[in-house]
């Protein structure tokens, strides 16, 4: 199949630049664009959409005073958060404490380098794209561990330990479930996974249903979404933060800009989780009528909405129950899914 040109090449082509200069300029401009697309989405999601969604679940109205639908709250919140005093507690482990809020959002942004967003927006398309996305997403855990031990706060420490335990318990089912898709697609390359899903599965009354893996293997999709919820730390798996138990978990000691960065990281992480789910199971940017990028946006926002719904309506598990479900439930099911898929693919295809 023909690979679409990746975004840096398109940009350097448009600018008429060749060779190393073209690669560098195209890469930087492309990365700048993609990062900003995600940051803008986060700006909508964090101060505005999250409030509106939570309020809708709780029969409230939420922000509606500044701007249409309260949209300018985004601006006022940015000013408010950035102008707050950055409080550095005594006894924090300085370089680590400062680095963590940078590691958390940028690791999540890094994951978007390989995500095909439609309309040719994809920074890179390496053969090992999927592995790269998971690897990048997992770096955030490193950042969380840094916050945990560098904060010199016991709540932070407990939160960080919980995050590590959660990460190990849920990263494995997540990756193993994704591997079942790879068996179907026969490739780790993101663009190929998307391309495979474009083929028609069956036709019902003139409507063609594509071979999105969510349709082919709904069981794997459900498993993946649940593991993904744990990966991004939302109810019922929000134990690393667990506000009513351990105050704010690993981010207890962070304020002002650092707080913004960590929060940014969490939202980008949710979007990255949604993006990986969309790419693996929902045909990536594919969809009727509307352009690919719009469909991609709809899909990741749908995942965001789902996390917020869970947050409003589902109780939090206790940490031991959480690990029990991860190790004794999810892991077993994901391997069962993998073996079954392998057998089916081996026999039929």
């Amino acid at each position: 199949m023909s690979l679409q040109a990746v975004l840096p090449d398109t940009i350097s082509g448009l600018l008429g630049l060749e060779g190393v200069l073209g690669d560098v300029v195209g890469g930087l401009v492309g990365a700048f664009l993609v990062a900003n697309i995600m940051l803008i989405m986060t700006a909508f999601a964090g101060p505005w959409a999250k409030r509106k969604i939570t309020a809708a679940f709780g029969d409230r109205i939420a922000v509606n005073r500044i701007g249409p639908f309260g949209l300018l709250t985004i601006v006022t919140d940015a000013v408010r958060l950035l102008s707050k005093e950055l409080i550095v507690p005594e006894g924090v482990d300085r370089p680590a404490w400062d680095l963590a809020p940078i590691v958390i959002p940028f690791s999540a942004l890094l994951g978007f380098a390989v995500i095909p967003m439609g309309n040719g927006i994809q920074l890179a398309d390496p053969e090992t794209g999927l592995a790269f996305a998971f690897a990048a997403a997992s770096i955030a855990s490193l950042g969380i561990v840094m916050t945990g031990y560098a904060s010199n706060n016991k709540f932070s420490l407990i939160g960080a330990l919980r995050a590590v335990a959660a990460n190990i318990a849920y990263e494995i089912p997540l990756v193993v479930t994704a591997a079942s898709v790879v068996i179907f697609a026969g490739s780790l390359r993101m663009s190929e996974i998307v391309a495979v899903q474009a083929e028609p599965l069956l036709s019902v009354a003139g409507v063609t249903i594509p071979t999105w893996f969510a349709f082919v293997n709904p069981f794997a999709f459900a498993l993946f979404i649940i593991a993904n919820l744990a990966e991004v730390g939302r109810n019922p798996f929000d134990i690393p933060e667990a506000p009513t138990e351990i105050v704010a978990g690993y981010q207890t000691e962070y304020s002002s800009v650092y707080f913004v960065l960590i929060y940014l990281g969490e939202f980008i992480h949710i979007f990255l989780g949604g993006a990986i789910a969309a790419t693996l199971f929902l045909g990536g940017p594919a969809g009727p009528v509307l352009p690919g990028f719009v469909w991609f946006t709809i899909k990741i926002w749908a995942f965001f909405l789902f996390t917020q719904w869970a947050r409003s309506a589902v109780p939090r598990l206790r940490v031991d129950q959480f690990l029990e479900i991860g190790w004794k439930g999810m892991l077993v099911l994901s391997f069962a899914n993998l073996v079954l898929t392998a057998i089916i693919v081996g026999v039929i295809v």
Binding site: D59, T244, V319
Partner: protein
Amino acid sequence: MSLEEQQSDEPAELESGVSRGDELADLLGDLVVGREEHMNAPGLVIRPDEVQDALFKLRDEAGFDHLSCVTAQEYEDRYESIYHLTKFDDRTDEVSVVVPTSKDNPVSQSAEPVFRTADWHEREAYDLVGIQYEDHPDLRRILLPETWQGHPLGLDYDQDRPQIATLREHANPLEEDHRAGDSNTMYINIGPHHPATHGVLHVETVVDGEQVVDLESDIGYLHRCEEQMCQQGTYRHQIMPYPDRWDYISAGLLNEWAYARTAEDLADIEVPEYAQIIRTMSAELCRIASHMIALGTFALDVYGDFTAIFMYAMRDREIVQNILEDLTGQRMMFNYFRLGGVVWDLPEPREEFFEKIRDFLDGLPQALEEYHDMITSNEILQARTVGTGVLPPEVAKSYGATGPVARGSGIDYDLRRDDSYGYYDELDWDVVVEDGCDNFSRLLVRMREVEESAKIIQQCVDLLEDWPEDERNIQANVPRTLKPEEDTEIYRAVEGAKGELGIYIRADGTDKPARFKIRSPCFSNLQTLPEMSEGEYIPDMIASLGSLDIVLGEVDR
């Protein structure tokens, strides 16, 4: 005394002509060195070094299994501790064990080995009055800071003396870091600033990983000298506003009733039936509002913040608040009860007011259905709450737990029925009991009690609607100044939102009480937290704390 009250204390005469006091005095034999008559119960005077013997006998042989309250006070010539004993099975069977101690050596034997609840009550007595309890496991100040000088409810306490304590003298909570030792435990301060402590509660917790090894509640942050303030107010009007401020989360009228009942019994005031019905109705509205908050905040503790269920509970509570606002003119500090009745009649037009209540009652089953769908039938919530925070009935009794906490442990005890007041015994309703003893049971008890309260309100509205217009008597004739006779003592309790809310008053012949003691249900209930949480995980400890439904304003008073 120029008042027309007949202060004849009537000891409960039994058929044989022997009073209950004589019977119990016979049981204790030589332990009794004197007799008193309190308005609610016979008083047996015991020597300070024989408290445990007497209490053990009363508990094991006469069945007094509920130490409701410990009142301490100072007289000109002596200190005195009063143990108000009663029974979970028969609330009206009461006895006061009076333990005088000398001025120069105020040492009395502790009741803690008999009733665990005496632990905190005696600490409070030591803190505020200055009686020392021998054999007490942990006699420290409880409401005031460790560094406080003097005992504020003692007679020679100088209020004007400045309390100067340097920072250095205060205990440093970080010192017990357990870092130096080679143990694997960690010391955490949960609170006083923590999202789940429901106020300013400080729980000193020692954890081993995620498991709670040891915990201790540090209270007193919200101590506002309520008892002393009440002692400086006149019976007739000046005390009634204070009860609103004890359990300030919607339970104001229930608290006011505690004072109203005590003072009315003390001054022998008869409340008109019509006013009793209004009281019953409005108090149950308060109970619904209070239980809604309990439900919502418990959901917060288990679900995490920003949950839909909290907002749903607030939404339904808001309707109750509006009804109460129509009735009393206030949303929080109602000040609606008066001695001998209520301050004013139902708001006009009455039809509209009844309509509002009926609309609320009609919508309630659906709202509760919704809660059950979202909370109690949720599998994750059940996994979190069933079998966690277990409080066995025997332990609950020993700690003097009452209200939904006791009823969640299978103790069938409700003052509205067992020591009836107001209009409750005329109405048709049930006491809700669940015997799971865990967090889930306590949650269920509150949700089902809302239904029972709705039943009561429904009946009250029916009665009020048909009440003849010329018989709407909201207020008995009460003298302008109340001066109960000197040395009359009374301890009376009502079923508050959180449990047994009792008040002890000793009159000294003036228009102000000489001693005003508040028995807070939250204070006793909170004591059970270590029993529920030790060995459990931190999240379960938080859930147990939520299921106790404490209000720090009432714990600290």
